[in-house]
């Protein structure tokens, strides 16, 4: 008879496994940062670690919805998250964020007033703006000779099979609502039914859906037009000015990505230190150098070069029509179903 190793061995094995996985960290010696991909320069993260000795674990997501899903699933205790404004609104309403301690964030005075007390955080208690941008049209002017001024031009028949759009159901529906003249947060069965035939027509002409890096297909020459994040467009323009950025005349979605500390954060002190660091003008400028979104930090904007400030995708000229997203709640599922159905109908 072979002796059984018994449950004691298994318990021991599990204990060893548990030890290996347990967080071997002292409080406030590291930060679990959960943020968009392609949004933090490595130099900025390393600069902070060098100065403070605090290590940053940068985990990325590709959509606000994905961020929310993983945050709520609760696998990791994140210390800092970077939701877009309308997701931040949902988190605040559900009491999932910790209030910020502004005594530790003197640099908040650098933020331009139009980026404070916005609809998602009217009392400015929970969030700090990181970068802002718009969703607009990119045109490869070497390949597209006719003028493109709005969404109707972009999605016209003559551009069929030459368009990339962000793979984001709500952005697509918003474009249709703008063309139909409906407010972009009025998502209801009637407005979606009106948007449906228009979207069905547009979606037959779209070649590629890509939220992570829509600029790649434009650079590769696989498509000639795009409906993309302003920051992506700004990088394209900086690479080659043949990529023009157009704020659609029907209106455009403007968003602010914010930094916030979720409930359950273990390193609140360290998170505040990192936020204070991000508010410094020279740090914020370094972020703009690599990721040319619209910088809400007024003191940092003063450090930018005239070329950076004249990038039309970062700082759209004139006075275009912008709207911001609000948290949708239940009706959000209708958008997803509509777009899945339409993609499927091709």
């Amino acid at each position: 008879m072979i002796p059984l190793p018994g449950s004691r061995v298994i318990v021991l094995l599990l204990a060893v496994l548990g030890l290996a996985l347990a967080p071997l960290r002292a409080a406030n010696k590291e930060i679990n940062l959960f943020a968009w991909s392609e949004y933090f320069p490595q130099s900025v993260l390393e600069g902070f670690t060098k100065e403070t000795g605090i290590r940053i674990n940068y985990e990325t997501f590709a959509s606000g919805e994905e961020m929310l899903a993983k945050l709520l699933a609760g696998g990791t205790a994140y210390d800092l998250v970077q939701p877009p404004d309308y997701i931040a609104e949902a988190l605040i309403k559900n009491r999932l964020l910790l209030p910020l301690d502004y005594a530790k964030l003197p640099g908040v005075k650098n933020i331009l007033p139009e980026y404070l007390n916005m609809a998602h955080d009217p009392e400015q208690r929970y969030t700090l703006p990181y970068m802002a941008s718009t969703v607009g049209i990119v045109v490869n002017t070497e390949r597209v000779k006719e003028p493109v001024t709005g969404l109707v031009d972009l999605f016209s028949e003559r551009h069929a099979g030459r368009i990339v759009v962000v793979d984001d159901a709500r952005e697509l529906v918003t474009a249709a609502l703008y063309v139909l003249g409906h407010p972009l947060n009025e998502i209801n069965a009637k407005n979606l039914a009106e948007a449906r035939p228009l979207l069905a027509q547009w979606m037959k002409r779209i070649k590629l859906y890509d939220s992570d890096s829509p600029k790649t297909a434009l650079l590769n020459g696989d498509v000639d037009l795009g409906y993309v994040w302003g920051g992506e467009a700004a990088r394209l323009w900086a690479e080659n000015p043949k990529f023009a950025y157009v704020i659609p005349k029907e209106g455009a979605h403007q968003f602010v990505d914010v930094m916030a500390i979720p409930q359950g954060a273990k390193n609140v002190e360290a998170a505040h230190r990192f936020l204070a660091y991000l508010l410094r003008p020279e740090v914020s400028k370094a972020i703009s150098d690599e990721f040319p979104y619209t910088n809400p930090n007024g003191a940092a904007r003063k450090l930018l070069s005239p070329a950076q400030l004249s990038n039309p995708a970062s700082y759209p000229p004139g006075n275009p029509k912008f709207g911001t997203f609000r948290h949708l709640g239940e009706t959000g599922a209708m958008i997803d179903e509509l777009i899945t159905d339409l993609k499927n109908a091709r």
């Binding site: 709520l72 793979d167 070649k207 297909a217 590769n220 696989d222």
Partner: protein
């Protein structure tokens, strides 16, 4: 067929081994329980739940998710996914069989080297290999460049972000899973049996269809099992090479968990999907046993 039936009783002699057998099986059983049974039970529970407006799972019983699974939208997506996977499987058998056969018929050092060549791609990440295909197929990519340089075409072909690109990606990803099991069967095949078929008057086609195919069928069947089911659920290739234009069932399930934040509905899709395959497998298994008996 007789050989199969004859080996069947041999299994029963192992039944007495009891404790030792269970001990040897314990790691596998533990693995299966932890990473297959427990997650599947979780999925089953989720699939009868509801969600709140943030997308958190609310533990309140509902049939609604299952009602939605059988909506024509999702049935059509499932049908399309099966179509893509079937096409991929057929192409993999057509391409993989001759390769596996050829390798199996080689002499020793060459045979091992050829096998190594089949496996080398696994040393690189799957995503990196998919990105390499993007570099090949894009309109200013390697393939178009080569064809234009050699004068075969004048304007670049539109290859990337098409259904063709998806099928190329799928066949590429799953081909080794077809070659290796067929190789395993083909290598064991006794050449004397093929010669005997010839001696008895079978032509090459008849020898192939009546002798070689039945004898290597276990390898083909294993290859089909290894790739057909994963190919149905694949979502990365459709996103990266197909431009996310046409959803397959894998994309839809992934979207429910992340973009749409509707884990209960995603779970219901997953459960139905899994049940379907268990059922298909059980039926295939029963038919095989019936044929063997």
């Amino acid at each position: 067929m007789h050989a199969l039936a004859d080996t069947a009783p041999a299994h029963s002699s192992g039944r007495r081994a009891g404790v030792v057998a269970w001990l040897l099986l314990a790691p596998l059983a533990l693995w299966l329980v932890l990473f297959v049974v427990v997650p599947m039970l979780g999925l089953l529970v989720y699939s009868f739940c509801q969600r709140d407006d943030l997308g958190r799972v609310v533990y309140a019983f509902s049939w609604e998710n299952y009602a939605r699974v059988f909506d024509p939208i999702y049935l059509k997506i499932l049908g399309r996914s099966i179509g893509y996977a079937a096409l991929t499987t057929v192409l993999c058998v057509a391409i993989g069989y001759p390769v596996a056969w050829y390798i199996a018929r080689q002499r020793s050092p060459l045979r091992e080297r050829l096998l190594l060549l089949v496996m080398i791609p696994f040393w690189t990440s799957f995503l990196i290999r998919t990105y390499a295909w993007i570099a090949i197929l894009k309109s200013e990519g390697l393939l178009n460049g080569l064809l234009q340089f050699s004068g075969v075409i004048t304007a670049p072909l539109s290859l990337l972000y098409t259904p063709t690109a998806v099928v190329i990606g799928l066949v590429y990803a799953y081909l080794p899973f077809m070659i290796l099991p067929i190789y395993g069967s083909a290598e064991k095949l006794d050449n004397a049996l093929v010669e005997a078929a010839h001696d008895l008057g079978a032509g090459p086609i008849r020898a192939f269809s009546h002798v070689i195919i039945p004898l290597t069928w276990p390898g083909i069947a294993a290859g089909i099992m290894l790739e057909f089911v994963p190919a149905i659920g694949m979502f990365a290739i459709t996103d990266l090479m197909g431009g996310a234009q046409v959803p397959l069932i894998g994309n839809v399930i992934q979207n429910q968990f992340f973009r749409a934040r509707n884990a209960p509905f995603g779970a219901a899709l997953g459960v139905v999907f899994t049940l379907m395959f268990i059922l298909t497998y059980a039926l295939a298994h029963r038919r095989r046993r019936a044929a063997a008996a």
